[in-house]
């Protein structure tokens, strides 16, 4: 299995731990990642202010992979939804795709069209293409004493009409199944499907933190060992800013926030250092000690 790895902006800028864990896990399942030098921003931040620019930015990234005959594996859920939406649009509007290729060529950006490619989030690749049966065979250490809260985030699931095989956005299962395969218990909780608030962090901090707080507060009250997610934006809210929120709201959460490949990596027996677990902002030390017990 071979993919062009699309890290996007936030993973490169803020989530080295996620990238390390994803690469380490991919290796175990023989997923080969190709790094393309011409990937730049997916266009997500531009969609709400200039649709045309969003479309061309996304298209150029898609074309860069298409030129090399590679499907794209994404790590960030916002990149996933943006590139999926643009790719779907290009496949359904071939005339527009041709026009974009022509306008890019005029700017000296040369891409030749090839077979249509697909865009897939790394978690979806693990769930759909590797599958829980295959993953289970390689589990070395069952994390059976952990209570884990799954956080799907929004764009991994929605909008459902852009995705192939969409899950029920009100009651998704993939991440919970992937958590259970590690031996950990995936807990039920009220705030499970709540948005992290990152979408408005740059616009209105108070609002963004007020939203993120609701989930952390519930989890801190029901003895959760960790939250598990798969989007760097969500992680910025829950991990990077957790201390800040504790001060702001005068509350204690102390919820380690792991990327799914970090949790899976622990169960696969990958060492903590290779999974970047020391880079998580909320300490994962107690969690790792608990696993070893």
């Amino acid at each position: 299995m071979k993919y062009a790895l699309y890290t996007g902006c936030t993973v490169l800028g803020r989530s080295r731990n996620y990238e390390m864990a994803a690469r380490a896990v991919a290796k175990i399942f023989n997923i080969e990642f190709i790094d393309l030098a011409d990937f730049e921003c997916c266009g997500f931040p531009i969609k709400s202010i200039h649709y045309r620019t969003f479309l061309v930015m996304g298209a150029r990234n898609v074309l860069a992979a298409e030129k090399r005959g590679l499907d794209i594996c994404t790590l960030c859920s916002a990149c996933t939804s943006s590139l999926t939406e643009v790719n779907k649009h290009l496949i359904e509007h071939f005339d527009e795709k041709t026009r974009i290729v022509a306008t890019l060529r005029k700017q000296g950006i040369e891409y030749r069209m090839s077979r249509n490619i697909s865009i897939k989030h790394f978690t979806k690749i693990l769930y759909e293409d590797i599958g829980t049966n295959e993953i289970e065979k390689l589990i070395e250490r069952r994390l059976s004493n952990l209570n884990v809260a799954s956080h799907y985030g929004c764009h991994y699931l929605k909008p459902t009409d852009i995705y192939n095989n969409p899950e029920d956005p009100e009651d998704p299962q993939s991440l919970d199944e992937l958590i259970r395969i590690t031996g950990a218990n995936s807990i039920r909780y009220n705030e499970k499907m709540r948005c992290c608030g990152a979408g408005v962090l740059a616009i209105n901090e108070d609002l963004a933190y007020a939203i993120a707080r609701l989930k952390l507060k519930e989890l801190s009250e029901n003895s959760t060992d960790a939250m598990v997610l798969m989007c760097p934006f969500c992680s910025v809210m829950y991990d990077d800013n957790q201390k800040k929120m504790e001060q702001r709201f005068q509350e204690t959460y102390n919820i380690p926030v792991l990327y799914y490949p970090q949790l899976l990596g622990l169960a696969l027996g990958i060492d903590e250092k290779s999974l970047g677990l020391r880079m998580n902002r909320v300490s994962t030390k107690a969690l790792i000690e608990k696993i070893k017990r």
Partner: protein, 163 residues
Amino acid sequence: MNELSPKFKYEITREPGGENIKLCFACGICTASCPIREIDSQYNPRRIIRMVLLGMKERVLKSNFIWLCSNCYACTERCPQGVRFTEVMNAIKNLAVKEGCIHPAYSQQIHILAQVGRLYEIDEFDNNKRAAFGLPKVEKTKGFTKKIIEMTGLAQLILSKKG
């Protein structure tokens, strides 16, 4: 009331994403599902749709509330009429930008994207750190994003509205 623009709704339906706004029958599930509305009553999806349909162009485009959508798609998934309100908000903001109203957070992001091609610059220091952790080097931008921002007219749109 004399400042109403009856054609406002057609301007929205012409923007990508705004096509379905007239299908709204005001059930309010968008507002009931909205995590932003739960915290900040300034932002009310059903009310915003009404304002557009009534032609309150100035009040909508110049408001602060249009920038508060978190893009979570909760409203879009639940809407029985297929209005796709998240995309309607994008249509409204696209139009606002054309009319010279842009939130400063976005102008800032465009400047960064034009300079480094991403929202975060990966410099030599970062690349050394990456190497220490066995991660491949991230190449500097080849200026693709800058070219696109200039080519589509977005750069000029932002610069002409400055000051």
